[in-house]
């Protein structure tokens, strides 16, 4: 206890300034972190090329221990971006779906990509199908058209309105 009091007494008396000023001074005196120990960069500082983006998603889907939560999250995020992913990314996603044993994920994503691409350009989806044909044949994935999902199959009243 006395030692603690002594240490307090030995310290110079700091003037009480506003905490905000303290914080700014603290921040100003900080050294920039080393590149190896940086755990994140804010998104506005990241200048990612298209190739790096593709590789990132390709590696994400190629991870052997990926689970369904991660696949869905990434595919939902890809749907929210202003792009249609490269065929090799979709291929990696399909292989990930194979690893988590969910066939309908592939069908649903193909439908979603068709909806998104057709709003923009009708040629994109046939090109994707042509590029993905080897994987789909290898894994036994049916396209939405094979299952008859290119046309409405069942009718449902919108539960919000009735």
């Amino acid at each position: 206890m006395f030692r603690k009091l002594l240490t307090i007494a030995s310290q110079p008396i700091r003037p009480r300034v506003s905490s905000l000023l303290h914080q700014t001074r603290f921040l100003a005196n900080q050294k920039p972190a080393e590149s190896a120990s940086v755990i994140y960069k804010p998104p506005h500082d990241v200048h990612e090329t298209d190739e790096e983006f593709d590789n990132r998603y390709y590696q994400y889907f190629s991870r052997p221990d990926i689970d369904g939560w991660e696949i869905r999250k990434a595919l939902n995020e890809l749907m929210g971006m202003d792009l249609i992913p490269e065929p090799r990314i979709i291929e990696a996603a399909f292989r990930a779906c194979r690893r988590v044993n969910d066939h309908s994920l592939c069908v649903r994503y193909l439908e979603a990509v068709k909806w998104k691409a057709d709003n923009h350009d009708k040629d994109i989806y046939p090109y994707l199908l042509q590029e993905l044909k080897p994987v789909m044949e290898e894994l036994g994935i049916s396209s939405p058209a094979d299952l008859g999902y290119d046309k409405p199959e069942l009718a449902l009243r919108n539960p919000d309105f009735y």
Binding site: I39, Y40, K41, P42, P43, Y60, R63, G68, W69, R72, K73, L75, N76, E77, M79, G80, R98, N101, D102, H103, S104, L105, V107, R108, Y109, E111, A112, K114, W115, L139, G140, I141, S142, P144, D146, L147, G148, Y149, D150, K151, P152, E153, L154, A155, L156, N158
Partner: protein, 184 residues
């Protein structure tokens, strides 16, 4: 900035930590909290906002939960799905699809015919308004004043032209007094 900007290994570490500590309630669905609402349906993903509810959104193809509950037949089919997908028939694939999702994109984007109801509603409201106006004219308002007859209107026009009333905007401005005809 979210943890999804971190590298994946760190993401997983943080997620596992938070899940174990019971934080991150908004984004990691707890089965027991929503059991009354979603029943025994399996929570499979993040969905739209992390809440474990089913909704078919066109821009978010993968909802947080499956559409149907697991039955014994479905579990058998899922066991079969773990094998080669070429052995699955189209019917079984469709069954699996409908187990996870309610409506296909073709069904979601199919025209509903709702525009007919909208137009019918608009026309109905307009016709009711017209009926009300007609009823007011016949039963409530007094007849129009005599000066609004066609005959009396013409008389006023002559009067206005003769006396050059309202030379800039009215009837007199349209009349050419030199040639004695309407201006062209």
């Amino acid at each position: 900035m979210s943890i999804f900007h971190l590298r994946p290994a760190l993401q997983r570490e943080i997620l596992h930590f938070l899940r174990s500590k019971g934080h991150l309630k908004a984004s990691t669905a707890s089965y027991y909290e929503y059991k009354d609402v979603i029943g025994n349906r399996e929570i499979v993903g993040f969905g739209n906002d992390g809440q474990p509810f089913y909704f078919d959104r066109l821009n978010k193809p993968f909802p947080a939960i499956r559409f149907k509950e697991d039955t014994s037949e479905m579990l058998a089919l899922k066991e079969k799905e773990k094998g080669d997908w070429k052995l699955l028939s189209n019917e079984e694939k469709k069954q699996l699809y409908r187990h996870s999702y309610c409506r296909t994109y073709a069904e979601l984007t199919a025209p509903t015919g709702n525009w007919k109801q909208v137009i019918a509603g608009i026309l109905g409201i307009m016709s009711i308004t017209l009926l009300v106006v007609a009823a007011e004219r016949t039963y409530i308002y007094p007849p129009l004043p005599e000066s609004m007859n066609p005959e009396n209107t013409k008389r006023f026009m002559k009067f206005a032209l003769f006396n050059r009333i309202d030379e800039f905007d009215g009837y007199a401005s349209k009349w050419d007094y030199e040639k004695n005809c309407w201006k062209k």
